[in-house]
Symmetry: C2
Subunit: 352 residues, 2 copies
């Protein structure tokens, strides 16, 4: 089979600590399943690079990355030197947009061996997917400040939703629901956000007309977050705008014990551009340098990458290895253990 070309971007903070473990497991899976991998390490798209050059990435970043099948991404952000809105808008958010990774797919699962903050829940009770719109909506730098610096200051922030952008994420979610339990939850806030959200609800209905077998439940984002805590077992596929999906895909993993495990896939389903796979956790400056970051989110993201690139069996093997490792240890401190990042990476690689 064809060689898969992967660009590995560790980024900042614990991104640099979990990346080697992610690669270790990828290579183990490649060996076991006879997948040919070419992994190139990219040392830009981080805040050191920004401090040195004044930009997060070289001008020809797009050309440099376009030939890859996927980007395997650690975490970006180092607020002590570089404001987040600069580091993120100059890297991750650029990838999502310019490589048209319009689906952000984030699994939420409760595992054995992970203490659950919710009372009385056990492995298997929580198992759903958040499908987040990933290129438009509330994340924009459109708008401005009137009477800047005076008492009369007025700030306008614009959200932008396109029919194309909205319909394709809704359709993706309906298709996914069809392969699962035929239940789709649509996040909205049409009772408060009076232009975009009633329209979003209409698009959900319009696309839904093609999927009469799917039971659709629209929930306002406020009560939906409450239901994540009170009835997480009820969800199967949840589709949401960029901001609401961002919130739900941190909250969901928190309900399963930690966002330290949560992976994500930033997909361009048509494969016109490389897709990007990254942990949901950030660069975590507070624990960086101690070698104790949990690498599971990074490793699981690698599994999602192999799955997207056609190797479902490798994905399944990695996820099984994660399950077993969580059950039996070793565990990093976030899960109450004393293991190092590398211990967990090695353990999972061996299991694969």
């Amino acid at each position: 089979s064809q060689t898969l070309k992967i660009a590995a971007i560790a980024g900042d903070g614990i991104g640099r600590e979990v990346m080697p473990e992610g690669l270790r497991v990828l290579e183990a899976a490649a060996q076991r399943f006879g997948i040919s991998l070419q992994i190139d390490t990219i040392d830009w798209a981080n805040c050191d690079y920004y401090q040195q050059t004044g930009a997060m990435m070289p001008e020809d970043w797009k050309a440099q990355l376009s030939g890859y099948d996927a980007i395997y991404f650690g975490a970006v952000g180092w607020p002590a030197t570089t404001p987040d809105h600069i580091s993120l808008w100059g890297s991750l958010l650029k990838f999502r947009r310019e490589f048209d990774q319009y689906i952000n797919l984030r699994p939420v699962r409760l595992f054995d061996g992970v203490p659950c903050p919710l009372a009385g829940r056990k492995a298997g009770d929580i198992d759903f997917l958040v499908v987040r719109e990933n290129t438009e909506g509330e994340y924009t730098n459109l708008g401005g400040i009137l009477f800047e610096g005076t008492d009369r200051e007025i700030v306008i922030q614009e959200s932008v939703f396109s029919r194309k952008g909205t319909d394709r994420v809704l359709r993706f979610a309906y298709e996914l629901a069809q392969q699962r339990k035929r239940k789709l939850t649509v996040a909205t806030k049409s009772n408060g956000i009076a232009i975009s959200m009633p329209w979003w609800d209409q698009r959900a209905d319009a696309i839904g007309a093609d999927y009469p077998d799917i039971a659709v439940d629209k929930q306002h984002i406020d009560i939906l977050t409450a239901h994540f805590v009170l009835q997480p077992q009820r969800f199967d596929v949840v589709v949401a705008s960029n901001l609401f999906g961002d919130i739900l895909s941190d909250l969901g993993p928190a309900c399963t014990g930690t966002i330290g495990l949560a992976p994500s896939a930033n997909l361009n389903p048509e494969r016109d551009f490389p897709s990007l796979f990254e942990p949901v956790h950030g660069s975590a400056p507070d624990i960086y340098g101690q070698g104790i970051a949990n690498p599971i989110a990074m490793i699981w993201s690698g599994a999602l990458m192999l799955q997207f690139l056609g190797h479902a069996e490798a994905h399944d093997a990695i996820v099984r290895a994660i399950e077993d490792s969580l059950k039996q240890g070793p565990h990093t401190p976030d899960l109450g253990g004393q293991a190092k990042t590398t211990d967990v990476g090695q353990d999972i690689a061996e299991r694969v």
Copy 2:
């Protein structure tokens, strides 16, 4: 002492069932503490009225209500006949804006007798306040639809933040933090929402300069929702924009067991206009008509009203009665009991 003039607006659905219990307890407290109350029942601002007249409220609603000290409000919304964005924008959201109720104050507390969805938490562990901006921000009907009805459709939704509106809610939160544990959490999303939220952060810093004794923690809304689940004991005062405050004040109460108990105060602190007190729960069409709605949020909202109007002792007595009633019962079905709405109302009134 002066007579307090209260306008009672039951609204829709279970608003109509919990209102009588709220009034019952208010009257009990008034009697015990020698407070003179005049309560007038308003039968508009509901969806039946809209169906009959084509408007949620009469044209002179503002004149009719201006003389009151406070509005005691049930819940509005009946989606089966009236879209939420019509019923809400035509009543509740109008009150908040036109009566300049710019603070929405929402206590989050875990009580004995209420099963907590979070593992290992007991009464006293969770006790904080969400201070929500209540008149501007993300809740607007500004923007529009370009190429409407075509494949090229583009929707713009504008959020509007003013320095005046932002500074006053931040200042209110800092003042509140000063009376409590001197810890303030500021919700933001400056890494994604690139115009308004970095500016919001700057205003939090600017106002904070007057409160050097307050420890401020800015958290992005995604991870903040995760922390509500993972570390709720860490919060004391949380300040947020209109949308983020809406989300946090449903999620917070969910973490304490149910949003069925959560009260809220929509305050115009200067008392230029009546303030409004209402449960966080909505009209709950699914359980309306059975007489089983939990009236505690309504009753607790009444306590907040008396507190705001200068009767702290009456507030404290009602909250103690709620605590005792939750510990000893009766309980409505949402708390695992079989009591009716009226049973709980009577019990709390007697305890007061």
